[in-house]
Amino acid sequence: MEAGTSPVIELKNFRYTYLEGTPRAVEAIRDVSLEIHRGERVAIVGATQSGKSTLVDALVYLLRLGSGQVFYEGEDVTAPGYDRGKLRREIGVVFQSPDAQIVENIVGADVAFGPTAAGIPAEETRKRVEESLNAVGLSYPEYRLRYVHALSGGQRRRVAIAGVLAMRTPVLVLDEPTAGLDPRGRRELLDLLLNLRKERELTLVVCSAGLEEASLLCDRFVVLDAGKVVMDGPAREILRRSNRLAELDISLPETVNVASELKKIFPDFPTSLLTEEELEAEILKHLGAG
């Protein structure tokens, strides 16, 4: 899983103004340069209006021509003759709202949609549907003929993920993957994503307003504020700057909040802890030493 030398996705001086030329124009991205390498797991974090959704759109080029360049595997996707269809077969995006993304009304048909459109033969498609549904924890025989509208929000989100997995894209982009889910749905989805992360050699981009799940799924954070990258680095390094993150209205993982409290009584207590296990071990260590 080591990062390759040339980036798989690269943004160079990318700028984008939403509704340019109208009275409601918003400068969504002001000069972002960003490299994402193969196998990296990057979280793009920022408060509402920070430009993170526009950045996701830029990755698969769902925008007008902005200024600056976007490269995928060294090729400029903004160039006139570039095959964006191919780009979208390489980068799978799971959007925040599964209802926008699901195109068929039967679960199996929706998961089969992408491969079919890409011209993959029926037999192979069926295999992928089975595999993808099972991978998201929706048992294939039970769910393949289910109507999408009769599923819960969490299940629909899984169908959306399965639809992208069936494309076997090397890059997976998730926009606010757990927003709006109840605790069970959230936990199950996180387990599923952690599992995918382990089993497949994915380049993962997670877009989020908070660091709660980003800290579990990703090891590099790119923090946006008002269309600019204000921090970019290993997750634990960024988490150390909790005051700055709070200023940007980015919510911290609860583990970090607890650790910050404990730092008041144990001055050398590290605050960049990501999991409950780490926190537990650190407390036991401090108690043992005290």
Binding site: V258, E261, L279, I283
Partner: protein, 285 residues
């Protein structure tokens, strides 16, 4: 006072058999109480809300709001006492300008203009929106829209405010500020609050937590009492706040933490106390 006795409700959907959404719920909520209701999707929370404001009527059992039985014919009296804020402000705001929307409810009551103006003003002020009366709602952020919705509910001067997952679509910091505003309203105005949520950390901020599962009320108590039931909560698809979960782990490892611990600050105090305690010094020394 909201009194719910042996409440059952089943939706009748076409040809299929009636699915029970609520089964034998008993619940009393006193005036001015600050209560969170938790439960996974489909546990019956939202059905309960619709029954409370007479949008649906009980299949069995009784609901009384300030002594008024909730039944056909009484709906308007009940709705003058309970206001509801729903999950998505886009679906519940009616008018296009902030002040007009906040005025919508009082206008329906047929109040004189001066009274409406006064209620609109004080409700906007309570939510920190006093400068926004003339703004168009479509230009506001989701958090601001949800505040407008709460102001609209407040303008009805209800005895109880029911919040039906109003924070689900908001980023955590925005949600936290909203809850703290609601807490202030509860403290200053004595209005009862019933907050339905998925967030265990939010529930921990309330005085009382009611847990629902499969249409039944399964737990009812203070947050400390409720979050003691870690395994029970997890088995019904819920969770506990991370600090509680951590304390659970530490206690299992034999760390003698005292008292009710709901958040990081509680844990800090407990650990500080522990470090001072002679018993602990003896065993670690």
């Amino acid at each position: 006072m909201i009194e719910i006795e042996d409440l059952s409700f089943a939706y009748r959907t076409g040809e299929e058999d009636a699915i029970p959404a609520l089964r034998g719920v008993n619940l009393r909520i006193g005036p001015g109480q600050f209560v969170a209701v938790i439960g996974h999707n489909g546990s019956g929370k939202s059905t309960l809300v619709k029954l409370l404001v007479a949008v649906l009527y009980p299949t069995e059992g009784r609901i009384r709001v300030d002594g008024i039985p909730v039944r056909p014919g009484n709906e308007w009296e009940v709705r003058e006492r309970i206001s509801v804020v729903f999950q998505d402000p886009d679906d519940q705001l009616v008018m296009n300008r902030v002040a007009d929307d906040v005025a919508f409810g009082p206008e329906n009551l047929g109040l004189p203009r001066e009274k409406i103006a006064e209620r609109v003003h004080s409700s906007l002020e309570a939510l920190g929106l006093e400068e926004m009366g003339e703004r168009l709602i479509e230009d506001l952020s989701p958090g601001q829209k949800q505040r407008v919705a709460i102001a609209g509910a407040l303008a009805m001067r209800p005895r109880f405010l029911v919040l039906d997952e109003p924070t689900t679509l908001l980023p955590a910091p925005v949600a936290a500020r909203l809850i703290s505003t609601v807490r202030d309203l509860n403290r200053s105005g004595g209005m009862g609050v019933l907050h339905i949520t998925h967030s265990m950390s939010e529930a921990a901020l309330f005085d009382r937590v009611v847990v629902m599962d499969e249409g039944k009320l399964v737990l009812d108590g203070t947050p400390a009492e409720i979050f003691r039931e870690v395994d029970r909560l997890r088995s019904i698809g819920l969770d506990v706040p991370p600090a509680v979960s951590l304390v659970h782990r530490l206690r299992a490892r034999g760390v003698p933490l005292e008292g009710d611990i709901l958040d990081g600050a509680d844990l800090r105090r407990a650990l500080a106390a522990l470090a001072e305690s002679p018993a602990y010094r003896r065993c670690s020394g």
